[in-house]
Amino acid sequence: MFYLIIEQALNGLQYGLMLFLLAAGLTLVFGIMDLINLAHGSLYMIGAFLAAAFYQAFQSFFPALLLAIIATALIGAILERVLYRRLQRMSHLSQVLATFALILIANETIKIIFGAQPLMIGMPASLSGPLELVSDELYYPAYRMLIIVVGLAVALGLHLLVNRTRIGMWMRAGASNPEMAAVMGVRIKPLFTFVFALGAALCALAGALLGPLLAVSVGMGESILIPAFEVIVIGGIGSMRGALVGSLLVGMIDTLGRLLLTVGLKLVVDSATAATLGPTLASMMVSVLMVCVLFFRPQGLFPARG
């Protein structure tokens, strides 16, 4: 049982870090541009599909990953230039509708290009085995470990970018005080494009990394969008630290909560019911957590403003 919990905790960490990749971009766009982007999940889907396509072309994981990231970042930058820049000046309602429209367009376009069947990305052969963490007791898939390592590295990289560079300084200024940032004038537009492209790249990274674990399918964007939104609301919109803590919290609740609730429920109800109820309750707990945060600490756990 103890090692099962450790393993689930690692899974939670892995899921949380992938959520973080999405939430980081989302929270920056939200915080700096004051823009609701429902289509953020679509970039994740597009990234995963591109990775799958490149993988089929080259039969090699890492080049496919890299190409997918670059291509998605480009798509993000173009979208920012032609669409989001205009949306930024419009009402939240318009933003919701336009990005909802983007989801419909993205899903359908992907369907037209790739068909309705899910695609697979093969994982690199060298990482397909398990890793022995505690001899004979705890094995953990090497590929999942890679995801954790990459996630942590990206988190560190983003931390350095935001706190140690000039671009990061602008980003922080933008998130904490959009008007002030606007006064900085000329620099703000390229900054938006950069932030958007960065967000798209992180989406693609998450999509491609998860490709070998999940099926790459139409609609995968919507299912991860809700948790990503919950993460940034919990963490505090615009706050990178909030996004990280929120992601890990949500990842842990979802994964560990699922296990513990299922086990706990088995003591009360029959095991079939517990098996369906546990995961749902865990998902609901995340929503409940978000509602509570909004109610008691509307600015989130780590507010970027004020």
Binding site: V96, L97, F100, I226, F229, E230, V233, S283, S287
Partner: protein
């Protein structure tokens, strides 16, 4: 009206925008009443139930329009109320309660109660947070419906027969159409009275400037909550009718995609206009009906259309009339002055 000469035309302001005249309403009612007769004489029985569907979604969209268009509350969770109404009817039916006069009011009550709970918490938040929290609540309902075996899980709950009215069977599409027309008609009359009443004006004014309305003594929170609950209740009525139409309810009704579609209907028609929800739902369903027979990529076309509307005609179809009128009329001196002042700043 003592001090204003009657020949001075009142300018159309948001308080009066888009309220229908009685003749329009009567004409629409007449057309809707003879519609199924025409369809059955043409032998197109299928379009009778399409008509029911349009009416029901028109009601759902109008319910959302009350909160979104009139009250300015951008709810991305109205699917929850649609679902509450549907599940309300289906669960009661599962326990043998099929009498319409019990089941439908109970379903509406359930949806209104859900709206009360969600509203009390959500209306304390602003802007994007309101959007997110309504979305999260709807998502909670979705998880609940999917997980509880009591609610049929992924498959949802079937309805073995439609709600029953003594002396009248609703099993035929024609009878059900008239039942829907009657019920939705009542709801539309109620909605009209709501938005034309002092309550409706206060609501629109709160949308325009909440702070000002609070400062002159309106209990803003309670008024918005009331509108939200009424909106939720009416959406619940639509949900109850929808479950009756499709003889069952699935968790799909509760997805945020569904909330988004309702919002799309309101926007196509024109948010904050009385006919907005109705026009929007009708246009949406007719487009869907015609386009999806031609191509399987209806969603692509919808997406492009929606993007176009947001970027080019953000106030929807109902606002086109005003735009045309405004374009024909030379700008009044007062407007010209305001514009020049605006430029001077």
């Amino acid at each position: 009206m003592k001090s204003t000469p009657s020949h001075v035309r009142k300018p159309e302001t948001p308080l009066l925008a888009g309220l229908p005249g009685p003749w329009t309403a009567i004409a629409v009612a007449l057309v809707l009443a003879i519609y199924p007769l025409i369809m059955s004489s043409l032998g197109e029985e299928f379009y009778i139930s399409v008509g029911s569907r349009v009416l029901i979604l028109a009601l759902a969209a109008s319910a959302l329009n009350l909160a979104l268009g009139y009250g300015g509350m951008i709810s991305l969770g109205h699917a929850a109320f649609l679902g509450a109404g549907g599940y309300g009817v289906a669960i009661l039916a599962k326990y043998g309660v099929i009498a319409a006069w019990v089941a439908i009011p109970a379903a509406v009550g359930l949806a209104a109660f859900a709206a009360l709970v969600i509203g009390v918490i959500s209306l304390r938040t602003r802007g994007v947070y309101f959007i997110m929290i309504t979305l999260a609540f709807a998502q909670l309902f979705y998880y609940l419906a999917v997980s509880l075996p009591e609610f049929g899980g992924d498959d949802g709950l079937p309805l073995s027969s439609r709600s029953a009215i003594p002396g009248l069977s609703l099993e035929s599409d024609l009878a059900f159409y008239y039942f829907v027309l009657f019920t939705a008609g009542l709801a539309f009359v109620l909605l009209y009275r709501l938005v034309a009443s002092r309550f409706g004006r206060a609501l629109v004014a709160i949308r325009e400037n909440e702070r000002r309305m609070a400062a002159i003594g309106y209990p803003v929170f309670r008024l918005k909550l009331m509108a939200f609950v009424l909106s939720g209740g009416l959406a619940g009525l639509a949900g109850a009718l929808l479950a009756n139409l499709s003889l069952g309810v699935t968790p799909h009704t509760l997805t945020w995609h569904q909330s988004g579609l309702l919002m799309v209907m309101v926007i196509i028609g024109g948010s904050g206009y009385f006919w907005g929800g109705i026009t929007g739902a009708a246009i949406f369903l007719l487009l869907e009906e015609t386009i999806s027979t031609q191509t399987e990529h209806w969603n692509l076309i919808l997406g492009v259309l929606l993007l176009f509307i947001v970027l080019v005609a953000p106030n929807g179809v109902m606002s086109l009339r005003e735009r045309i009128i405004a374009a024909r009329r030379p700008p009044s001196p007062a407007h010209a002055k305001a514009a020049s002042e605006e430029n001077a700043r």
